[in-house]
Each structure stands twice: as C-alpha cells, then as structure tokens.
Amino acid sequence: METFWDTFKRHGVSRRDFLKFATTITGMMGLAPTMIPEVVRAMETKPRVPVIWIHGLECTCCSESFIRSATPLASDVVLSMISLEYDDTLSAAAGEPLEEHRKKIMKEYWGNYILAVEGNPPLGEDGMYCIVAGKPFLEHLKESAEGAKAIIAWGSCASWGCVQAAKPNPTTAVPVDKVITNKPIIKVPGCPPIAEVMTGVVMYLVLFDRIPPLDSQGRPKMFYGNRIHDTCYRRAFFNAGQFVERFDDENAKKGWCLYKVGCRGPTTYNQCGSIRWYNGLSYPIQAGHGCIGCAEKDFWDNGPFYQRLTSIPVPKQEADADKVGAAVAAAAVGGAIIHGVASKIRNSGKKE
C-alpha cells in the first residue's frame, strides 16, 4: 500500500513542506522535538488506514468539531491520512450499498481498520431507541467492533454517556466501553472534543500504529494530563484572589477568574486552556463563561453550573501560588494515574 509520503508526493507536496508538516504534528501530539525523525519515518512507511465512523445517540457535534481542525486540516486527514470508508455524516452513499460497503471493508481489512464511535448505544427497548438500517445501533456497534484493531470513543457520549445518560437516563444510554470490553478503547471526551485533539489522536494512531499512552480512565495522557485550570490564562487572577463576582461586573471586564460564578476548570481535564478552540482563537473561559466541565464524566449531574465548587480552596489576596496549586491538585484526584496499557495495538488477526 501507498505511504503518506507517497501520497504527499502525488499531491505535489515538497519534501520541505512534508517535513514542516511532520514537525507541526509532532508538536501537536505533545511529543518532544527529538521525536521528529520518528514521525517522519512513520509517515514515509505507513499506508492510509481505513476508518469506519458510526453514530449512535448523539448530536453530531463531534463530527462538526472534527471538520474544524486547522492543524492538521480536517480535509488533509480525511483525504490523505486516513480512508474514511463509512460515515453517516459525510459518506456520499446511503442505504444498503453503504451497509454492504461497511461489511466489505471490515472483511478486507479485518484486524486493521479503526472504528470511530460517535454517540452511544441505548440499551432500553432492546436497543430500539437507536435504529440503523432496521437494526439496533447496539448490534452495529458490536459487529463493527469485532474486526477493529482499535476503537476511538469520540466525545463525552461515547466516553461517558453524556447528556442522554444524565439523570434519569430515559433510554438507558451507556458508554461504549460498557458493551465492548475486549478491544483497546481510546476515550476522547469533550462535548465536543477540541478539533485538534481529535485529529491529533488520529495522527498518533496512524503514524505510530499503536495507541497513545492512556490515563486510568482511558484518555490519551498527552491531551488529558492537565486540568483547564493548570493552563488557564486567568489562573494568575485565581492565585491573586481576584474574581468575577457576577457576570458583566467590573472584574469581568478585566478578565478576572470565573471560579466564583461556577467555573469547573479546576476539576476538568482537557486542553481548552492551551490548544484552545479554532487554532488557539478562544475558549469558553476566554469568552467570559466558566468551564462547565464537558469533558468530565457525568458532568451534567454535577450542577447547577453557576454554583461554585465548594471543594476548591479559594486563596486570599496574593496567596502562595504553590500552596494553592497543591491544594487544588489534591482536591481533584483520580485523573492522572498512569495506566499500564500495552503500547502496541495487537493485531487480533482473527477471521470469521
């Protein structure tokens, strides 16, 4: 099969631009510059990986987010890096021919395709709260997972259940890992996840042919290793005890910390503070709204959103930043424990 470098050459991309691209995505994936040669080598030797992208109960915000990726551009990912063979939102084909195509790809690339899951399966009414091609989505999920080499659980729906699983969860919606237990699952939470986090995960999988190091909850450590609070541009105001007391007050105009109006930045693991949205343009806190914690498990039921977190100690004026940092970290245990996931994705090699 053709390698990335072959594809780039065919598209008239110069060696120089190719190397520039490899350097950018190395940084994107949170890797040290010393890894650049490995990324280049990987891109010179890896073929386009087939991807089947299926949709359960969801709102399609993950797909919408994905196509907003700027580095790398989503179009490059879809047309040059991966081969998106099945996607409810983007596939030209519909109905039976598309279902047949999915089965054909599964057979042809058994053990070698990636399954991307957006949304989640409901278990209520024998799965008939989400029906695809006249069958429960649950069945599609299990069938498509069978020959996949890895599964990406896109967004908070696939990762945790998200809004439809919020109390009282009328459809008994469950996250993907509740029904698929024998495959590596990479959780990429967020409602939606940041576009560059999504393409970064795809690039890692495709280039290194292994799943990225995951934390104890199954999230790639490179993207979910820090709380939003850790890299927030308003953190200095938190440390200095300078807070917005009410939306649109004088302090809000100065861009002070939003903790007192309910910000969940101190307990939310994601890259909003560093990668931000739209290629670094902004993120909710920058626009003046507290983080609602959309990448965290069951965040819908941790509300109301405008109630401040009581477990986070609020520093007094000019408080000691180190002390505050340590206290905050202690209050939000659980996310950063290293998980010993096998570094190589095993090729199951099974055939039906």
Partner: protein, 633 residues
C-alpha cells in the same frame, strides 16, 4: 408496485429511514414513509433542573445547527421571568445567529447536499482550462446577486479568498480526485450510485467546479463560524447566559473577552462569510439550479405548495417579551405566519400572521401521536406542547421482527417523531417556508417591509428573472428549497454586517453592558412562571416552552423543525413535508432513488433535533420501559 427502502439516509444529522412505494411503469412515487429512528429524552432530563442551565442541555439536542437551541432556551427562560436583555447582547446574539445561517447553509449545500447534484467521477472528465473559463463566465452571469447585499460597514476593499478562477486551481483539485480514485480507497465517495443518469445532466466542467469547491470549502467553512467562537468561547456548542451574554466588553483591557482586537477578528470573519456566500455558494447554486430547471427538474415541492409556517427573527432592538407580542413588533425578518396555496401564485395565496398569542393558544400548535411510538389517552386528538403527554409505546414494524425490520407499518405507528400541526394541518418549515411567507406578506401588503424583507423580495425577483419563471413555479420545488437556503445565507451575512455596525456604534456611544443580572437569583423569580422561546433554526421554525415552579423546571418542551417536516401521518390523514415531497417525485431507477435523496436532503434533516421525548405529565420516569436491566453508567 415496488417498495424501496433507504436506511440509513446519510449526509444528514441523526438517523432517518425512508420507504418508497414506486409505480415501476411510470417511475412515480405513489406513497412514502419517513421514520425518525432515534430517541433520547432530553426534555425529561431537563425536569427539576435550574432554568439558567437549560440552554446547555437543550443545546445538545443538535451539534450541527449548534447554538440555536441554546438561543431558543435563553429566550424562553427570559420570557418566563420577564428579563429584557441589553442592546449589545441583542446585537451579539443576532451576529451569532446570522453566523449560524451563513455557516450551516454553506456546509449543508457543499458537504451534505452537493453530491446529490454533482459527481467526482464526472469531474475527472472536465478540462481545467475550460472550467476556469466557465467559472469566470458564471461569475459574470450570476455574480450580480452579490450586489443585492447591503454593506453598511463598507470596510473591505477587495475579496481575499475568492473566487479562484484559474486553470491551476481546478487542475490541482482534479489531480486530488484522480489520485484518490486511482488509490482504490475511495473513502467518503465509495459505494454511491455515480452511474445514475441524473449525473449526466450537467457538463463535466460544472462538476469539476462544484467538486473543487466542495473540497476547498471543507477547509474554509471553519473560518465562517469565528464570530461564535469569539462571543461564545467555542464551536460547536458556544456558551450563553440567561439575561444576555457573558462576553464582557472593554476597550481598555486586553484581558477582556471583547476588545478592539477581538472585534477586528469578528469583522474579518464576516467578510469571509460574505465572499464564501456571494462568490462561491450563490454562483454555484444558480449555475446548477438553472440547468436543472431548464431540463424540467421541478419535483419535490410537495407540502410547500400547500402550506408553510414560520415564526420570524432578527429583533432589531431588545424586546420585552414573546408571548405578549412585543417580539414581533421588533423583528426585521417577517417570516412569522402561515401561507397556503402559494403554488397558485402569490396573488391567490392565503396569508395568516403568527404573533405572540398564537404561541400560547392551545388550539394553534398541537402535536399528534397516532402514528408515533407514543401513547395518548385519545389519539384522535392533538395536544398543545404545554399539555403534552408522552408515554413511549414502541410497536415494531409491519414485516420483520421487533429488532430486525423489513417494512414499517404506515397504517400503524412507525416513527419516533410526533406530528406537530397548525390548526390541525401539516406545514412545511425552513428557508423555503420563510421565503414564501415574507414574499407573500410583502407582495400582498400585509406588512411594512424592513430592509431585510426588501432584500429577500429582491433576491426572489432577481432569481425569477434569471430562470425566466415566476416565483410560484420555481420556489416550491427541490431546487427552490435549495436556492432559498443559499439566498438566506446571504441574508445572514447582511444581518451580521448590519448588527456589527450597530454594536460598534453603541460601544462608541459609551454603552458596554452585555448582561442584565437584575433577576439572576432565583429568589427574585415568581413562584410559578411560563415562557415561550421562538426562533428560526436554519432548518425551520423552532419553539421551546418552559414552566418554572419554585425556581426549578417543572416542564420543558421543544417543537423543532424536523418534527414538522419529517412527521409521520396525523389521524386526519395529513402527511409531513418529507413524505409529500417524495410523492411529488419521479425516480428514473427505482433501486437508486437519487431524486428522492435530493428531495430529502433539500430539507437538511436533523433527526437528533426531532427525536426527543416530550412531557410525561405525571408519568414517573421509571415507567419508561427498559429491557435487559443493565444499569446506566
């Protein structure tokens, strides 16, 4: 008669199945069945929560027309609590809304709809030099449409991104497609009916032009949403607050959410929207639509010919309430009404306005469940959203098993969508509906047209001149529905320029307030309050209804565009717009119903929006039947 099933219908949001009953001799679709095949229960989840949080939950109804449910939600809570938002918040919300129209329509046309009209396979046959020449010719022929758009800011000297009408540009994209085809991994283009005769209607150069723009726009579309990211912090799912906006304005502080630098970013993005819509979208649309109409392709009008409904949008200045009627005194886009029989000609069409009281009148908007998987005590009657009952009642298909369908039962229940009706009658909603209503209201003299209404009338008259047919002939068709969406994207951009100027002028005059926090605390609320929040989602009329009791949500309901358009039959036999548009269509190859896909896609269906659970009104949540007994996570 042949029964053809298309499931899943792709390039939409969510899950949809269609079944066609086709007369093989004539190719005419005799009857059609459309079924929403997912269900989530968001209104149930909203009960008992803080109404100030509702926007975030409701917003997750849809991540495609992202922000519109949040918009309807904050409006409905503000309507209930009697909150008037500041001027700046009104202008900013309007810009976020106009941005949604510009982006959502553009992405719909290129990435969800274009491949029904144009083909990458045909594009390979084109000559890039001839394509560049054609693009220039088309810009000359149809480019005048751009001049209809007023530019009160007048800041942009020349286009920066478009149009790229050079042979090199088209050759590069053709190469890209060629290599993709040669690689054997067709990806998103795989397995489609590219051999369908409809793809031969256009010359190869038009195919190459449109497919190149499909690929190019995939990269550009992200920039169109920038105003939402600046004002709302992210996209999809930008943030809002009840009482206005949270993005405080300061011209003196670099840390302020909105300052001079951020406003410059917004202005630049609005001009990018203008270029994308005026010089790409509208020209491609007119070129393709013109050829199709000339070749007699005027199917798919369906329900639009009989009855359309809209709510109105773009309040020029802050208003006091919706249910009292003040909102409709302030709007610029007068699509608030119902029009019947537009296909007979604009003079013969019947016009009924929709104002405040119509949204609280229990007889005006009702929902039926006779053919939906829900139970009512009396299924021959409809219920106003405030009185709605939902008791899930899944009954399975006509043929097949409970979990493995063959054919659905159109005589019985067959969809997770309910059937909203206006005075008991089905209506089409969406850009086409809005255009028909505004046009009729202006031409029949029911309203004093705003600058926005005038723009819409000018657009329709200009396109009628280009096509050489009157509006009542070309508008209520699949092509007309697709065209109205493109024209409305231009209205969205025009609104952005207009409200951006108002925002700047207001800040200049010393007003920087973005939020009214007087009634933020629940202790300042009445013990019980009811509210209506209406807007026009890109896909059509959207309404949220809330009842707040003791500071919590007692009841929350949404009646959404795709529920109107995609609804199953009602007990009186009325069919929704999807089903009616299919019945109006002839398919050349029954096994490959591209014509029907065109029709369905022209509505830009959003099934996640339309398949949500309504009020249980007294039914305990635990009564929702769950089989398998696996606990929620």
């Amino acid at each position: 008669m042949k029964r053809v099933v298309v499931d899943p219908v792709t390039r939409i949001e969510g899950h949809l199945r269609i079944e066609l009953i086709v007369d093989e001799k004539t190719g005419k679709v005799k009857d059609a069945v459309s079924a929403g095949t997912m269900w989530r229960g968001i209104e149930l989840i909203l009960r008992g929560r803080d109404p100030r949080d509702a926007w975030a939950f409701a917003q997750r109804i849809c991540g495609v027309c992202t922000s519109i449910h949040a918009y309807a939600s904050v409006r409905c809570v503000e309507d209930a609590l009697g909150i008037r938002i500041p001027k700046n918040a009104n202008y900013i919300r309007n810009i976020m809304y106009g941005t949604l129209q510009a982006h959502d329509h553009t992405v719909h046309f290129y990435h969800l709809h274009a491949l029904d009209w144009v083909s990458p396979v045909e594009a390979l046959k084109a000559d890039p030099v001839a394509t560049a020449a054609l693009q220039n010719k088309l810009l000359e022929k149809y480019g005048g449409i751009a001049e209809l758009m007023p530019d009160p800011l007048g800041h942009r000297a020349y286009p920066r991104k478009f149009p790229k009408a050079t042979p090199g540009y088209f050759r590069a994209f053709q190469e890209k497609i060629k290599k993709l085809v040669e690689s054997g991994q067709l990806g998103i283009f795989a397995a489609h009916w590219w051999d369908h005769p409809d793809y031969k209607l256009l010359p190869p150069e038009v195919h190459l032009m449109a497919v190149a723009h499909y690929l190019n726009m995939l990269d550009v579309q992200r920039e169109l949403f920038i105003p939402q990211v600046v004002f709302g912090g992210k996209n999809p799912h930008p943030h809002y607050i009840v009482g206005g906006m949270m993005c405080s304005i300061s011209m003196d502080d670099m840390n302020a959410p909105i300052n001079a630098e951020k406003l410059a970013v917004v202005e630049d993005a609005i001009y990018t929207q203008a270029e994308a819509v005026n010089l790409f979208y509208l020209v491609d649309l007119l070129a393709i639509g013109h050829i199709y109409v000339q070749k007699g392709w005027t199917y798919g009008g369906g329900l639009a010919k009989k009855r359309v409904l809209g709510y109105g949008e773009f309040p020029d200045e802050p208003y006091d309430d919706i249910k009292g009627g003040d909102y409709h005194n302030k709007i610029l886009y007068h699509s608030n009404g119902v029009v019947e029989d537009f296909a007979l000609g604009v003079d013969k069409a019947k016009y009924y306005p929709m104002v405040g009281k119509d949204f609280t009148d229990p007889e005006v908007i009702q929902e039926f469940v006779a053919h939906s998987w829900y139970k009512y005590p009396d299924e021959s009657k409809g219920l106003h959203p405030w009185e709605g009952i939902t008791e899930p009642n899944y009954t399975g298909p006509k043929e097949g098993t409970k979990t493995h369908w063959k054919y659905l039962d159109e005589q019985g229940k067959y969809s997770w969508l309910k059937s909203p009706r206006w005075r008991g009658k089905p209506c089409e909603v969406g850009p086409l509906a809005r255009y028909i209503i505004t046009y009729t209201a202006v031409k029949q003299g029911h309203i004093k047209p705003s600058w926005m209404d005038e723009l819409i009338v000018n657009q329709i008259d200009t396109v009628s001149k280009v096509l050489g047919v009157p509006p009542h002939v070309w508008l209520p068709t699949t092509v007309g529905r697709t065209a109205a969406r493109g024209l409305e994207a231009q209205v969205g951009v025009a609104a952005n320029l207009y409200f951006f100027k108002k925002l700047i002028d207001n800040i200049k005059a010393g007003d920087t307030a973005v939020a009214n926090m007087e009634k933020w605390e629940p202790e300042k609320w009445p013990k019980e309050a009811k509210g209506v929040g209406i807007t026009e989602a890109p896909r059509g009329a959207l309404g949220h209804w809330v009842i707040i009791k003791d500071g919590k949500i007692e009841n929350y309901q949404c009646v959404v565009p795709t529920t109107w358009n995609g609804s199953p039959r009602d007990p009186m036999g009325g069919q929704g717009a999807f089903e009616e548009c299919m019945k109006d269509t002839v398919v050349k190859v029954p096994e490959k119903p591209v014509e029907v896909l065109k029709g369905i896609h022209s509505f830009d269906p959003c099934l996640a929006c339309s398949t949500h659970l309504y009020d249980t009104e007294g039914n305990e949540i635990v009564e929702v039947k769950v089989q398998g007994g696996i606990p929620a996570c």
